[in-house]
């Protein structure tokens, strides 16, 4: 294509299957595509006979950029992938690097990571619930549930000073311990959260219009979902009891008692119910983690990875040098490759890191949950009305920052 001007158009990227069909382009600026997703639909009347996702409008080459950044600097890029579930991304990256380093994380840090990751999951599901309902014409839930999300973001701000991109979970532990007054504020949030969630549930769960729009729409079987690479609430909505927190526990998830909600029919309504139940389960995990929070440090003992405590910098020359070297040169990671995954809010979220022994990754790759889930959209849209497509997009819960990276 070099040398001549290439003007991309719907015709060049889409091959129609029928003769008397109509090709409709949706996005990338369509409000219900949740970002910059573009879907090209081929319609027979109002029925979709083929749908094709066109992505890449938000591609920023993070995986290439990471090969030129030290491991502790890659953390800030993970926030910006799935920006709805930033703590989950931080955690997955931290686990992958720690797997390569072989360093042990104290129990306290592990519990705090769980608290942050579960808060992130609730916040992410709040946005999903609000926008999903908004897409289908229910405006009220959006206002109620976004208020709750704001309260969670306030908690993040208390921790890190940043509302959406905390970068607080880093390889080696957490950047800091619980700030003063955090626990009270968290408890105050939790005291109201279930009631507020109940309000939204009352508006939707038994709502006949909501049920008509979502029940029997976008049905996916469990086997299909797994072969498509779908995980998280989509697989669980289809009746697959697969949750990495149970299947391969990480960060002390085995210490907590929680259920894995699953659906029976695998339609949009089931995925909706699964996510609602997950928010309640996350809430109980947070309660357990805060109640049993062990004493200890929020950093690993490995001083090659963790910075020296602030007090030591005033008295010890070695600590000062160490601190300087750590933040300028980074830490060297042993040669090898490792994959670590967490159960993110949208499904399995993992990082595959190949190290050549230097302070920067040789290859750094995210297993993007939304990207793999997106494929199911093309399958589910087939044979449905164009109005159902909106319901299906909402139920897949995509984040384009993660899809395009």
């Amino acid at each position: 294509m070099a040398g001549k001007t290439f003007i991309p158009s719907t015709e060049t990227v889409f091959q129609r299957t029928g003769e008397s069909t109509m090709v409709v382009n949706m996005g990338p600026q369509h409000p219900s595509t949740h970002g910059v997703l573009r879907i090209i639909c081929e319609l027979e009347g109002e029925t979709i006979i083929k749908a094709q996702c066109v992505i890449g409008y938000l591609h920023t080459g993070m995986e290439k950029e990471a090969e030129f950044q030290q491991y502790h600097k890659c953390v800030v890029m993970t926030d910006r992938m799935d920006y709805m579930n930033a703590n989950g991304n931080n955690l997955a990256h931290a686990l992958a690097v720690e797997k390569l380093l072989g360093c042990q994380i104290p129990k306290r840090a592990q519990y705090l990571r769980v608290v942050l990751a579960e808060l992130s999951r609730i916040a992410s599901h709040c946005v999903w619930l609000g926008t999903h309902a908004l897409d289908l014409g229910a405006m009220t839930p959006f206002f109620y549930i976004m208020q709750q999300r704001e309260l969670i973001l306030d908690l993040f701000e208390m921790f890190s000073g940043v509302r959406m991109m905390p970068s607080w979970i880093v390889p080696g532990g957490l950047r800091g311990d619980v700030p003063e007054g955090f626990e009270e504020r968290l408890l105050a949030f939790q005291a109201n959260f279930l009631d507020e969630l109940g309000t939204v549930e009352d508006l939707l769960v038994e709502n006949p219009i909501w049920k008509e729009r979502t029940q029997g729409v976008g049905v996916l079987t469990g086997t299909e979902a797994l072969a498509l690479g779908c995980s998280g609430p989509i697989a669980r909505g289809s009746g697959v009891p697969f949750d990495l927190r149970k299947a391969q526990p990480y960060s002390s998830y085995e210490d907590f008692d929680f259920k894995v909600p699953i659906g029976t029919k695998g339609d949009v309504y089931d995925r909706f119910l699964v996510r609602l139940a997950e928010m309640r389960e996350s809430n109980t995990i947070i309660t357990q983690a805060m109640a049993n929070l062990p004493e200890g440090s929020n950093w690993t003992d490995d001083r090659k990875v963790a910075p020296p405590p602030r007090a030591e910098l005033d008295t010890s020359m070695e600590s000062l040098i160490h601190h300087f070297k750590l933040y300028t040169e980074g830490y060297k990671v042993p040669v090898g490759e490792a994959y670590a995954a967490v159960e993110g809010s949208k499904g399995e979220l993992g990082f595959y890191v190949v190290s050549d022994g230097s302070a920067m990754p040789y290859r750094w790759h995210e297993r993007p949950s939304s990207f793999m889930n997106l494929k199911s959209l093309e399958v589910l849209a087939k044979g449905r009305l164009i109005a159902d497509l909106i319901a299906i997009i909402g139920s897949i819960d995509i984040v384009l920052g993660e899809i395009d990276r």
């Binding site: 070099a2 991309p8 090969e67 690479g229 490759e337 994959y339 990207f371 494929k375 399958v379």
Partner: protein, 196 residues
């Protein structure tokens, strides 16, 4: 070695013999290096055998080892790593194949339909061609992009921003900007300045 005693690894060795080039334990995970031509059959077996039941296709990724200075598992410039999971047995397995420049890898789209997207991504970013899932259209990159940016011989690059180095702009005297260099001091804001 712990991985060798795993049931899936033993079954693969028994069924495919020399098509399994090596099996490695990397921090507790099993990495199975497979001959390129037999990849699709190995994958089919992993999915269909009831004792293995690798039903969940997690993802695949490419790695370019052009500038790698350490020992390698496989030959060829690139490696494609397929990440598979069995929800029945809660076990994870990595299938690795080596690919040289200009060689193709068989697609696993026919085994797990979810392989389509990550394979398209790998072609887009590395230029590794998947036989059965050949692409002419860019996926993540713009349609007029040339080359495959995640290859190691491609620099970090970036978009050139046109800095004019003081040749134009409001700081330079000969510009057309009507209010360039003008002070608004002492002006109330209500007077008409549009006519100048």
């Amino acid at each position: 070695m712990v991985v060798e005693s795993r049931r899936d690894v033993a079954k693969l060795r028994e069924r495919f013999g020399d098509a399994i080039l090596s099996v490695q334990d990397k921090r507790g995970d099993a990495y199975v290096c497979v001959e390129r031509d037999r990849l699709a059959r190995v994958a089919q077996f992993l999915r269909d055998d009831t004792e293995l039941a690798y039903d969940y296709y997690v993802e695949c990724l490419g790695v370019d080892y052009l500038t790698w200075e350490h020992a390698r598992d496989l030959e060829g410039r690139f490696e494609v790593v397929h990440n598979l999971y069995s929800t029945k047995h809660d076990s994870r397995l990595f299938l690795k194949v080596g690919v040289g420049d200009g060689q193709t890898v068989p697609t696993l789209m026919t085994v797990w339909s979810g392989a389509e997207y990550p394979e398209r991504e790998t072609w887009d970013l590395f230029g590794i061609v998947f036989h059965g899932n050949e692409q002419t259209q860019r996926f993540l990159l713009p349609d007029d992009w040339v080359g495959h940016p995640l290859r190691k011989d491609v620099g970090l690059g970036g978009e050139d921003v046109d800095f004019d180095l003081g040749t134009k702009g409001p700081a330079v005297e000969d510009v057309q900007t009507p209010h360039a260099g003008e002070s608004f001091e002492g002006k109330a804001g209500s007077e008409d300045i549009s006519g100048r």
